[in-house]
């Protein structure tokens, strides 16, 4: 029997179970810390030697992490970030094409009615003025809708730039933490709090761009875009993304300096918030803008073809009603603006002022297939625009709901493995506390035994 050995055994218990209490209290304190993975103390019996140490030692206090679930959650965050960004970006289409008064459809209908009034009173200055007023409202409606969409495009480009900046900040943080973790663990220090901070930064990045995470040397992680471009490596540190604006279109693309030259990595970002913003801009928003421009040009061309063939009250022919190269510059032609008598309601200058046939032909533009390459009426083309925009929003919402559900499931699965349960930690706390108390008692017993032996001499 070795009293010293009993003393050492008690001391090892105090160390191991003290660590257990410390880890349990850390876990409880971090119960609400985002990205925190609970730590678990693993005890191991020390090998008994003839005069060896025996007792117990805390083998490790590892973070409880399932790499598969972490990767799944990282991917789910990117999907959710992308889908949410798409919904936020495309909801403008719901507003631009809503059925509230003042929209493009209403403006088309009001203009049509005013042409009917001119056809019923071709010699009336008042009805002609109203018709030009309605034509101006139609132009304003085209311009306002175009402006809504182009402002949204500009905002999306601005948000892409700012999101890229935020990603770069987090990439730099991850690179710094890679170094700090390596230094800490190389000197035997505990680095779980640094790993938790790195996970938090990674959570932000994975919500903005789709990434793959690979374990690197010395506790580091390597972060890559799904397409393979490295964002963070242990050796190279953070390799930032660059948001570049095309001076002609104002559109932002995302690139990265690789081997000394800028490489466009936009295509490697199909989701995450940045991917969602890019998809919304280049997908449904572009389609809506192109559709609106086409409708504006078709409207102008169809009315001009009829109007220029007719005669105004002044007997002049060959004047256009509108000018438009796209929706944003759709306006009343200078030939007729402010000149009600120039509105060509007649088909025969000899039958002025009562000839209303060209006004009726202008009305007929609304029932002819003059839009989308002669396949649709103006109303149908507008309805198609509404359907496409609304369907894009609806699909984005459905994708968002699905992505959120998948992320919730992935979060729960990760939480089930790595999350902190206060009940569980309390049990650990009690267990380690009791063991600590028992170890302390063991030291007392050994001490008492020494006292007993010393007392034998007295």
């Amino acid at each position: 029997m070795s009293i010293l050995r009993i003393l050492n055994t008690g001391a090892s218990g105090l160390r191991a179970h003290g660590l257990g209490v410390q880890v349990a209290s850390d876990n409880i304190a971090n119960v609400n810390t985002p990205g925190y993975a609970r730590r678990k103390v693993e005890l191991q019996a020390n090998q008994l030697q003839p005069n060896g140490p025996g007792g117990v030692r805390a083998k490790d206090a590892n973070r409880v992490v399932d790499q598969f679930l972490e990767a799944r959650l990282t991917a789910a965050r990117a999907e959710t970030g992308g889908a949410e960004a798409q919904v936020e970006s495309l909801q403008i289409l719901d507003f631009a094409f809503s059925d509230e008064a003042g929209n493009l459809g209403e403006a088309l209908g009001a203009f049509q009615q005013s042409l009917g009034d001119v056809a019923a009173n071709p010699n009336s200055q008042a009805t002609r003025e109203v018709a030009l007023g309605r034509a101006t409202q139609l132009a304003t409606s085209f311009q306002q809708t175009a402006s809504l969409l182009s402002e949204q495009r500009a905002q999306l480009n601005g948000r892409i730039t700012s999101e890229v900046g935020e990603v770069n900040t987090q990439l730099e943080t991850i690179a710094q933490l890679n170094q700090a973790i390596a230094e800490a663990e190389n000197t035997g220090q505990e680095a779980s709090h640094l790993r938790a901070q790195r996970d938090q930064a990674l959570t932000v990045v994975s919500g903005k761009v789709p990434v793959k995470v690979i374990d690197g040397p010395q506790g580091s992680i390597q972060v890559m875009l799904n397409g393979g471009s490295a964002l963070v490596s242990f050796e190279g540190g953070a390799q930032p993304l660059i948001a570049s604006e095309d001076p002609a279109t104002g559109d932002v693309t995302v690139s990265q300096i690789q081997a000394g030259r800028a490489v466009d990595v936009t295509s490697q970002i199909p989701n995450g918030r940045i991917g969602g913003l890019l998809s919304a801009r280049d997908g449904a928003l572009s389609q809506a803008q192109a559709g609106l421009d086409q409708l504006a040009v078709d409207t102008a061309n169809a009315f001009n073809a009829v109007h220029s063939a007719g005669f105004g009250l002044d007997g002049v022919s060959g004047r256009n009603l509108f000018t438009a190269t796209e929706a944003s510059d759709f306006q009343l032609s200078a030939d007729v603006a402010g000149q009600p008598e120039a509105l060509a309601a007649a088909q025969d200058a000899g039958l002025l002022p009562g000839d209303n046939r060209n006004a009726q032909a202008l009305q007929d533009v609304f029932v002819g297939n003059v839009a989308n390459g002669g396949t649709a009426t103006l109303d149908q083309a507008f309805q198609q625009l509404v359907t496409e925009g609304a369907t894009a929003v609806q699909m984005a919402m459905a994708e968002r709901d699905q992505a959120q559900a998948v992320e919730t499931q992935a979060t729960n699965m990760r939480e089930a493995v790595s999350g902190v349960s206060i009940d569980e930690e309390t049990v650990s706390l009690i267990s380690f506390q009791r063991a600590f108390e028992a170890s302390a008692r063991l030291v007392s017993v050994a001490d008492e035994m020494y006292e007993s032996i010393l007392a034998m001499k007295r």
Binding site: I28, V31, N32, Q91, L93, D94, F97, S98, D99, G105, E106, L108, G109, A110, Q112, Q113, S114, L115, G116, D117, A119, A120, N121, N123, L351, L352, P353, G354, D355, N356, Q360, Q363, F366, V367, D379, F382, Q383, Q384, V386, T387, G389, A390, T391, V393, Q394, M397, T411, N412, E415, A416, V417, G419, V420, S421, I422, D423, E424, T426, V427, I430
Partner: protein
């Protein structure tokens, strides 16, 4: 499966947010009486409703045109009714003057009456709607007839669109009434009659009796054509009203929501939110740490 405290709180947060959002949506639906609050709620219904709204607007425009046309025809109807009375009176006077008992003095008086009737008839033929002389054809900005009864307009008759692709004339050709082919020149015949009366020309007066009969028939025929066009406009109007009402009903059907259903759904959504709140109020669940 391990259930952590965060999982419990996340579930509570999600349920509260979801039930609150749904309650808000149902409240808006009830307040606005709408099932479709944004195009993305039902893109096809929204686009179809836009089509129905466009139809409603188009038909509203056609109804306005129909009203203009009916207004013109009502004025013409009234004018022709009065012209018919004038021609009836002119024919009666001609018959009275043709009678052997009328002497030269009486015929002179009748001649004056006939001249007044001719002026009245010219005035009635120059019926106008606002600035438009309805019987002047396309030359509508000037009277159809001058003071001598000479026609100053043209024979074109304007049409109005009363339905898609359907156009109806809102007047009649003046020459087809006052100088109809195979008929008489009414104003010239009235002038001839008054000249014959002044001249105490029995044969001329007798000829005038026949001319007045023809003239009256021409006016009556014109009146009938106006009546027939009014009938067409009225049929078009009732058809347009039906189409418009159907378009309005279709929009309500596509986008609207019955009040009862809207309030039931709102109440249900509110209950769900209150249930979620009530459950949330019971959190946090007691844990072992609190028991120690």
């Amino acid at each position: 499966m391990r259930v952590t405290d965060n999982m419990t709180f996340d579930l509570m947060r999600q349920n509260l947010l979801r039930t609150r959002a749904h309650a808000n949506e149902m409240q808006e639906a009830a307040q606005r009486g709408r099932r479709v609050l944004a195009p993305s709620d039902d893109p096809v219904a929204t686009a179809t409703a836009f089509g129905e709204r466009a139809k409603e607007q188009r038909v509203e425009g056609q109804l306005r045109t129909i009203n203009v046309g009916l207004g013109a025809l009502e004025l013409l109807d009234s004018s022709f009714e009065q012209m018919n009375d004038v021609m009836t009176k002119a024919r009666e006077l001609a018959i009275q003057a043709a009678n052997d008992t009328s002497d030269a003095e009486a015929r002179e008086q009748i001649a004056q009456e006939v001249r007044a009737m001719r002026d009245q008839l010219i005035n009635l033929a120059n019926v106008r709607q606002g600035d438009r002389f309805l019987l002047a054809g396309m030359q509508e900005d000037q009277p159809a007839f001058d003071a001598t009864g000479s026609f100053q307009g043209d024979d074109n008759v304007r049409t109005l669109e009363v339905a898609d692709g359907l156009r109806i004339e809102d007047s009649v050709s003046a020459s087809s009434v006052f100088n109809a082919p195979g008929g008489v020149d009414i104003f010239a015949e009235l002038e001839a009659l008054s000249v014959a009366l002044d001249a105490n020309d029995a044969a001329g007066i007798q000829a005038g009796v026949g001319a007045m009969r023809s003239g009256q028939r021409q006016i009556s025929d014109g009146h009938s054509r106006i009546g027939s066009r009014m009938e067409s406009f009225l049929v078009a109007e009732s058809s347009a009203i039906r189409v418009r009402d159907a378009a309005v009903a279709a929009q309500t059907e596509l986008l609207g929501k019955e009040t009862e259903a809207a309030y039931v759904d709102f109440a249900r959504a509110q209950n769900a939110y209150q249930e979620a709140l009530s459950i949330a109020g019971q959190l946090p669940l007691p844990n072992l740490l609190q028991q120690r």
